[in-house]
Symmetry: C2
Subunit: 431 residues, 2 copies
């Protein structure tokens, strides 16, 4: 047999209904946590002027861009990240909102990378930013949201840890060790690789700054080197009851050039090298992108959908929570009308309309399959109840498809009857 001739592009995902339901679980959780923490949602275009990204990253991402010329001759790019667009949007609308702005976005980004487990050429990202507040209370509020998000997925202290650092500590270190300001990005680039690069290569690079790997590691290991901002953040998060979710880790500086202060990453505690989310302060980026038209301190983080989903599915209690949610939310319908007598189709159509109008997810056969086949379909669709309409109409029979218990009722009151049954999901159905 010939197969389908077209397939999704490498690194791009088709979301079949179950996959789409898992995606919706992530999106709904992200959205609901952000909203109860007082963040409002925005969205920016998926396609932008390429210059927006080249200006921001200094070319770091440019080799991974889906970049092309549109029909109008514009140099355009599928967004590799959202912060540049956010900066543009905030610069345009800076007077319209009271500060600080607490904004979030859930959207798709695109990077031309080698597809592998846990990484595609497209991914969804939860982007959260606080803009217009320079103090560490904003960083703490942001990190609190990252922690609340992990909790909302069912993770508990011990499953994950937020490692917090501050570039300010390294800038002080650099000043104390005679590293000139213009060399600080290069120096931070070495620190960024301290967990991954071979010691002899690190030592060689540090020697250029008259530093040893031992002295740098000693600086990282000493809690006395925590910045004032870190201490304020720790105190704030402790007051919220989140003190056991965070720790100081000065080895974190994050790769991108635009971070200016506190940076952090959320790690899976079991596989300690896997970052679930990360972010930090970028107090100068909005000014840079707006050529000084808007000067706004900012702190933000992003969480991608690939790693968090894998972690949820690999952790027993979070996987269980997802499964329970899918049972409730991924069924095609809750009530399936079994048409035992085709002559009653007009009544069934009227009834299904009533149920739907009252908010019940209800369906019925479109063709004329046999009754046994209709019950099979009801189960395949994940329905909790089959509502049988036959020659006894307006008397109906309701069957609980898991307990197999049955009861009778009247069509005129079916909506209320069914609503009550759906509100008692685990209780026994009267026979």
């Amino acid at each position: 047999m010939a197969g389908p001739i077209f397939q999704a592009l490498p690194g791009f995902r088709d979301f079949t209904p179950r996959e789409c339901a898992v995606r919706n679980y992530l999106f709904q959780t992200w959205r609901s946590v952000a909203r109860r923490c007082g963040y409002v949602e925005y969205e920016t275009p998926i396609l932008e002027d390429t210059g927006l990204y080249l200006k921001k990253s200094g070319g770091e991402l440019s080799s991974q861009l889906f970049r092309f010329e549109d029909q109008g001759g514009r140099d355009v790019t599928l967004r590799p990240e959202v912060t540049a667009s956010l900066a543009r949007l905030v610069a345009q609308h800076q007077r319209d909102f009271p500060k600080p702005l607490k904004w979030f976005e859930i959207g798709q980004c695109f990077r031309y990378e080698k597809p592998q487990k846990g990484r595609g050429r497209e991914f969804h990202q939860f982007n959260v930013d606080i803009l217009g507040e320079v103090g560490p209370s904003a960083d703490a509020e942001l990190i609190a949201l990252a922690i609340e998000t992990m909790h909302a997925f069912g993770f508990v202290a011990g499953d994950f840890v937020v490692r917090i650092s501050d570039r300010a500590a390294w800038i002080d270190f650099a000043a104390a060790h005679g590293i000139p300001e213009e060399a600080i990005p290069e120096f931070l680039g070495i620190i960024d690789k301290i967990e991954r690069e071979k010691p002899e290569i690190l030592a060689e690079k540090l020697a250029k700054f008259s530093l040893t790997l031992v002295s740098v590691r000693a600086f990282i290991a000493d809690p006395a080197n925590a910045s004032a901002a870190y201490l304020a953040i720790y105190e704030d998060l402790s007051a919220r009851g989140f003190g056991d979710c965070v720790e100081l880790d000065l080895s974190i500086v994050r790769g991108l050039a635009y971070y200016t202060g506190v940076v952090f990453e959320v790690f899976d505690a079991k596989k300690s090298m896997r970052a679930v989310a990360g972010g930090g302060r970028y107090d100068t980026l909005i000014s840079t992108l707006s050529e000084g038209a808007c000067d706004m301190p900012a702190t933000g983080f992003a969480m991608g959908d690939y790693v968090i989903r894998n972690l949820i599915e690999e952790t027993a209690h979070t996987a269980k929570q997802l499964e329970v949610w899918l049972q409730r939310n991924a069924a095609a319908c809750d009530v399936y009308l079994v048409l035992a007598d085709e002559a009653q189709r007009p009544a069934a159509l009227q009834l299904v309309t009533q149920l739907r109008r009252s908010g019940i997810s209800a369906d019925l056969p479109l063709g004329t399959p046999k009754v046994a086949k209709q019950f099979q379909n009801a189960e395949k669709l994940g329905a909790r109840f089959a509502l049988v309409i036959g020659s006894e109409y307006p008397e109906l029979k309701l069957k609980n498809l898991s307990s197999r218990l049955e009861e009778s009722g009247q069509a005129a009151t079916a909506a209320t009857w069914l609503r009550n049954r759906l509100l008692e999901p685990d209780g026994p159905l009267l026979a």
Copy 2:
């Protein structure tokens, strides 16, 4: 002052928080109607192999494509529509789902057109399809969803009408008038323009088939020419109580070549030429796109976000429903903690965490603004209540920001207290 240097591309939208909330209103309504009617959600990639679109449309859309070569040398395109991807997905997974499949998707599409009111270069579309059922009950079920969607936005019979036609009626007409099968697409192309083209041009084109404009218009005007499928659909929808929302209109054939039978459009009744949604049967497309690997009858429709949003905002009762929804769903938070004594910040942090954990959208100042400024911010953020924490802590003061009434309560029971108040949105707050 220099303005921001980057802007969104022409025809692309930034969604500021209010715009994003309106978008979410559309998405949430679409999703909730589809789910209660027994449809499941899927999603396909935004970027696809260009061949998928060229094969489907016969080149009709090819001048409007955002098409480029990716870094791997692939000819790729930002999707102009979703049906081609759906066909691919269903062909790949045809054995995994009981038929009929009732699937929906909410996603963005891209067409390089001249941006104008009611049309951009990107738009969101609600796509709904029923696959694997050839009978008119599937078309009726699909049209019922279109009607339920209009009702969910607050439109009533009289605000809109679904005009239904059937290409089968025209194919019979063509056979009776000696039009050869291979000329039928050309003939349908003439009918498609019958409301828009000049009569003399139509007459000239019809003369080629030995037809007159009068005879064709007479065919359209005669209800006796309704197809058997139309009559079955009308009967089905009437049983659901939707008879007054639909009418026969044989002048509708829809432009795209792949429609094979029943077609329909949802029209704004006041501006009768504005189509809000449209669709129809495409029984051969999935077979074509899969080179015969999957032969699946199908019927589907799409509703874009531009026209429906304009119609909602221009219609008094639907605009009112949107405003009420925005008041409830677009506020940054429901409860704003006013910190009257900075020494109580740790208590405020603990309290805001408790409120959020109990599902209440709550926020607090990150800096140290004066109390009057905090109240102003609470109002700007759309909060319904200000919860004042001062030196009397753990006693708190709650102020209803619309009625200005105040009451006192205890921090230990604040979550329950606030939940109760939020559940009585319109009732008086005890002074």
